[in-house]
C-alpha cells in the first residue's frame, strides 16, 4: 500500500510538468490546446530514441523539451497566422504528431531496459521533486517578467495588450510552445521511469492534465500565480494518488481509468459550483432577514 502511494507521488511529480504545461494554455492563455496528446509522446519518443542512440539521458530530455516547443510553435502558427480555430489546430497537430512519433520511434513500442537512464544516479522522487520545483518556480518568475506579463495579459484581455504594443500572435505562439515543451519533457521523464516508450502513451493526456489543474485549483485555490502553480503540481500528485487508490478497489481495473478520470473532473468542476451556490444563498437569506428586521424596527419607531 505504502509502496504504491510513494510510486503515485513519484509519478505525480513527473506528470506535474505536463500539468503545468496544460495550465499555461488553458488558464493563462485561455487557449484550449489539444496538441498535448501528441507532444507528450513526441517527448517520450525523443527521450527514448536518443538515449538508445547513446546520448546522455539529460541531453535527451532537453531535446525532448525543444521537440515539444517545435510542435507547440506549429500549433500556434496554425491558429494565429492560419486563422484556424484553436481547438481544431490542436487536433490537427495531435493527428500529425501521431505519424511523426511513429517515425521517431520506428515501431509502436520501444523498450529502454538495459540502457542508460536519467534516474540511474538518484531516486525518481528526488529528481522528480527537483524538476517539479524548478519548473514551478521558473514559471512563477517568468510570469513576473515583462514578457510573462504580456503573455498573461494576452489570455486576460488581448485587445488591451495590443493597444499597448504587444504582438498577441507572438505571445500566443510563445505560450503554446512553452506549454508543449514542458509536456514533452514530462513525456521523456515518464518514458525513462517506466523504461519504455510506446506510440499511444499520450492518449488522454490532455484530460489528465486538465484534471490535475482543476483538482489542484479546487483544493488549493488559484488566487495568485504562485498559489496556482503550486496547486497544479499538487493536483497532479493527488490525481495519481486517487488513481492508485482506485486501482486497489477490487471491482475496478486499469481499463476503467478513463471513466474514473472523467468522474474526477466532473466532481472537481461541479462540487465547488454547488458549494458556492449554497453559500451565496445562505448569505442572501441572512442579509434579507437582517434588512427586514432593521426595517421593522424603524417602522415600529415611527408609529
Amino acid at each position: 500500500m505504502l509502496v504504491s502511494l510513494v510510486g503515485a507521488v513519484e509519478l505525480g511529480l513527473l506528470y506535474a510538468l505536463m500539468a503545468l504545461g496544460v495550465y499555461i494554455t488553458f488558464r493563462i492563455l485561455d487557449f484550449p490546446d489539444l496538441t498535448v496528446d501528441g507532444s507528450f509522446t513526441t517527448g517520450a519518443a525523443i527521450g527514448t530514441v536518443m538515449t538508445i542512440a547513446g546520448s546522455p539521458p539529460w541531453l535527451a530530455v532537453i531535446f525532448a523539451f525543444f521537440g515539444g516547443a517545435v510542435a507547440g510553435t506549429l500549433t500556434g502558427l496554425l491558429h494565429t497566422k492560419g486563422k484556424v480555430n484553436g481547438l481544431l489546430s490542436g487536433i490537427i497537430m495531435m493527428i500529425a504528431l501521431y505519424s511523426i512519433n511513429l517515425r521517431i520511434l520506428g515501431k509502436p513500442n520501444v523498450p529502454l531496459r538495459g540502457e542508460a537512464n536519467i534516474f540511474d544516479g538518484a531516486s525518481v522522487l528526488t529528481i522528480g521533486l527537483i524538476l517539479a520545483v524548478v519548473a514551478k518556480i521558473g514559471l512563477d518568475l517568468f510570469f513576473k517578467t515583462n514578457l510573462g506579463l504580456s503573455l498573461r495579459a494576452t489570455g486576460d484581455n488581448s485587445r488591451m495588450i495590443r493597444s499597448f504594443g504587444a504582438n498577441t500572435d507572438g505571445t500566443i505562439i510563445m505560450g503554446v510552445a512553452l506549454s508543449n515543451a514542458l509536456v514533452a519533457c514530462s513525456g521523456a521523464l515518464i518514458a525513462h521511469s517506466q523504461n519504455a516508450a510506446n506510440n499511444s502513451m499520450g492518449i488522454g493526456m490532455i484530460v489528465i492534465g486538465l484534471a490535475s489543474v482543476i483538482i489542484g485549483e479546487a483544493i488549493f485555490g488559484a488566487k495568485t500565480i504562485f498559489r496556482a502553480t503550486l496547486a497544479v503540481v499538487l493536483g497532479a500528485i493527488i490525481y495519481r494518488v486517487i488513481y492508485a487508490l482506485a486501482l486497489r478497489v477490487e471491482w475496478l481495473d486499469a481499463q476503467d481509468m478513463k471513466l474514473i478520470t472523467a468522474v474526477i473532473i466532473v466532481g472537481a468542476l461541479v462540487i465547488p459550483t454547488i458549494r458556492r451556490a449554497i453559500k451565496s444563498k445562505s448569505i442572501a437569506k441572512k442579509r434579507t432577514e437582517e434588512v427586514l428586521s432593521s426595517m421593522g424596527q424603524t417602522s415600529g419607531g415611527g408609529s
Partner: protein
C-alpha cells in the same frame, strides 16, 4: 502630428449589406490639438478611431503620424504612438492582474518586452506617484486585482495607463458613456487635466453635445461616413448646442438622430 488624407472604408464590400463607413475623410491635427467628434448613429466615428489605431485598415487613403505613413502597419506596432481608452470600462485593463502589473504593461508601451521583472521597486514608486494624481486612493491598492475595481475606477486607471507614457496621440472613444453621471464627471475632469498637463494631441468621440463644445479647441461633426463640419478654434468660442444642432440640420438636411445623444 496626425494627418488623415482621403481615407475611405467599406463594410461588407460587394454584398447586399455593403455600407460606407468612411468616405474620403480628411483631418489634420497639430501637436496639442484636442478635437471632439460628434455625429449621428453610424456616422463613422468609431470607424475613424479604429482606422487611426489600426484595428481596421483603410481601403483607400493615407494616415501619417509625425510624418510616417502608418495605414498598413498593424495595430500593435502603431501602439507606440497611440494611447487609447475604450468605451467599455472592462476593455482597457486586464482584470485578473494587479493594478501595478497593469501599469507595468502600459509602462512598456512600444518598447521590447524582455526577461526583466515588470514591477520593481523603482517603477513601483513611479506608479504610486502617477496613481495618486488620480485622487481616488488607488495608490494604496496597488496589489489588488483590477477586476475588483468599480467601472469608474477602472476607467480612471485605463486613462492613466493610456496617457502616462505620453503617447503622440490619444484616442478617446466615448470613454465616459458607460459610467454613471458622477463617475463620468470625474473621468472627464481627469481627462481635461491630463490632456492639458501633458499637452497630448487628442481625438475624443462623445455623445454629449455640451461636453463636445466645452472640451478641446476644435470640433468635427460626422454623418454617413463623412466629416461634414470642422469647427476651428476661433469659431468654437461662441458655439452653443442649439447652433450646433442647427448646423447639422442645415448641412445634412435632417435632424440629429441619435438615441444616446445628450444635449447637456
Amino acid at each position: 502630428m496626425l494627418k488623415i488624407e482621403g481615407v475611405s472604408k467599406l463594410f461588407n464590400p460587394g454584398t447586399v449589406d455593403e455600407k460606407i463607413a468612411l468616405l474620403n475623410a480628411n483631418l489634420h491635427m497639430k501637436q496639442g490639438d484636442f478635437v471632439t467628434v460628434i455625429g449621428s448613429n453610424g456616422a463613422g466615428k468609431s470607424t475613424l478611431m479604429n482606422i487611426i489605431s489600426g484595428v481596421m485598415k483603410p481601403d483607400a487613403g493615407n494616415i501619417y503620424i509625425e510624418g510616417t505613413e502608418v495605414s498598413q502597419l498593424s495595430e500593435y506596432s502603431r501602439s507606440k504612438w497611440i494611447g487609447r481608452v475604450f468605451q467599455d470600462p472592462m476593455a482597457g485593463t486586464a482584470p485578473r492582474m494587479t493594478i501595478e502589473e497593469n501599469l507595468a504593461i502600459a509602462y512598456k508601451r512600444g518598447k521590447p518586452r524582455g526577461f526583466s521583472f515588470g514591477v520593481n521597486s523603482k517603477n513601483r514608486k513611479v506608479f504610486r506617484e502617477e496613481l495618486s494624481r488620480l485622487g481616488i486612493g488607488l495608490e494604496n491598492r496597488m496589489t489588488a486585482k483590477v477586476g475588483l475595481l468599480s467601472g469608474g475606477e477602472r476607467q480612471a486607471l485605463s486613462l492613466l495607463m493610456a496617457t502616462f507614457t505620453r503617447p503622440q496621440i490619444l484616442l478617446l472613444d466615448e470613454h465616459t458613456a458607460a459610467l454613471d453621471p458622477a463617475r463620468a464627471e470625474l473621468v472627464t475632469t481627469l481627462t481635461e487635466n491630463i490632456v492639458r498637463e501633458l499637452n497630448l494631441t487628442t481625438l475624443m468621440v462623445t455623445h454629449n453635445m455640451e461636453q463636445a463644445i466645452r472640451l478641446g479647441n476644435r470640433l468635427i461633426m460626422m454623418d454617413k461616413g463623412k466629416i461634414i463640419l470642422q469647427v476651428d478654434e476661433a469659431q468654437k468660442q461662441g458655439l452653443t448646442v442649439e447652433r450646433l444642432l442647427g448646423e447639422f440640420e442645415r448641412i445634412s438636411g435632417k435632424k440629429m438622430a441619435d438615441d444616446r445623444v445628450v444635449l447637456g
